[in-house]
Subunit: 189 residues, 2 copies
DNA sequence: GGTCGACTAGACCGATCTGTCTGCTAAAAT
DNA sequence: ATTTTAGCAGACAGATCGGTCTAGTCGACC
């Protein structure tokens, strides 16, 4: 079979919930656009939040995979792979009405840190930072954890500023800032 | 009079809506906690969104004032004033369950960039960046606009990472990163 | 051919939310 | 003294939302 109803629901949840906000999109609209009956939804998931959780976890895997693909791109030099992380921001954020980082938005909609959905966001951000750290360690940077955190701040800052202002030229700003930090870190290596 | 009912509503809106999310807090709870009758609310504001807008605008003024106070602190050297912007992040973010930057949250809850509430966020972020730029220009930095944007990314990134992970040590990371960028910018001045 | 499981359409329930309306109190202004 | 104004409490309407229930369709498999 092409795609199970369960997958259709998750895919549409990613598209609708994470683009427009979980609280704003009702379950009826999701069902209509996914062409799935309500009872099917509740046979696969025990609640709307349960679906959101599954969607968040799938998106976590997808985004992390994309992220890793950049950091391990064998066509680029190790340093350029890190630069590419920022350059490639352009691909997502120049889209009309960039909805922002889904995991940031989820954290806003589910502010309780102990909530399972919020925890997916925490896990995602930690994973991203770990991978940055590993790349930096591979480059022989002196304090890879510290530098990874700093690069991550720039990365997150760029996404959130583009989300709010709609000005995608923050991609360039983030690239410049990260380049500078990397330069410095490599000089000390 | 001590505080008009209108002010009570706005103050409580800032506290409840921006700490817990506008969509999650109902108007009945706000009225109960503000000790105001429903009809009084709707005589001052034409809708809930109208109240949120007024609250956002007041908060915009308040936060910007605090921000400016740091950037113009005469007890500090011009460079330390910029550093203080990051150091003082500690004051807000170490609070148990830091709710995140209210203007980021508003942008998530009102994603439409043309929405008046979203526009307050845009205005706020621009103002902050302008003030950073002005401080940098006062220091004789070569490209103040570009550096201001980069510092702003770090600033926003720190707030959002602390919001998600609850790890307030990102304050130090942001301080370190901004210090590095400032050093470089001043060396070129 | 008959059974079973997956799916569907849509009615329905209870809760919740925004916003309106009525009637009342009381202080302030004229 | 009377009118106006600001505020109060709470019922109410209308809409929406998440979730349940019923009844029925369709295809696969034994």
């Amino acid at each position: 079979m092409a795609a199970s109803k369960r997958d259709q629901l998750i895919d549409m949840a990613i598209e609708l919930f994470f683009k427009n906000g979980c609280h704003t999109v009702g379950i009826d609209r999701l069902l209509a656009e996914a062409s799935v009956a309500k009872m099917t939804l509740y046979s696969h998931f025990k609640s709307k939040e349960d679906l959101i959780l599954a969607a968040a976890e799938r998106l976590h895997e997808q985004v992390l995979e994309q992220f890793l693909a950049i950091l391990e791109d064998q066509n680029l030099s190790p340093i350029d792979r890190l630069h590419a992380v920022f350059d490639r921001l352009e691909d997502f954020t120049t889209a009309q009405g960039f909805p922002g980082c889904p995991f940031v938005n989820l954290s806003v909609e589910f502010p309780d840190p102990s909530h399972p959905i919020h925890q997916v966001s925490i896990r995602h951000k930690h994973k991203v930072e770990e991978h940055l750290e590993e790349s930096l360690r591979g480059l022989g940077v002196r304090e890879p954890e510290s530098v990874a955190r700093q690069l991550n701040l720039i990365y997150e800052g760029a996404k959130v500023m583009i989300q709010i202002t709609g000005d995608s030229s923050y991609v360039q700003s983030s690239r410049q800032a990260s380049e500078l930090l990397l330069e410095k870190a490599l000089a000390e290596a």
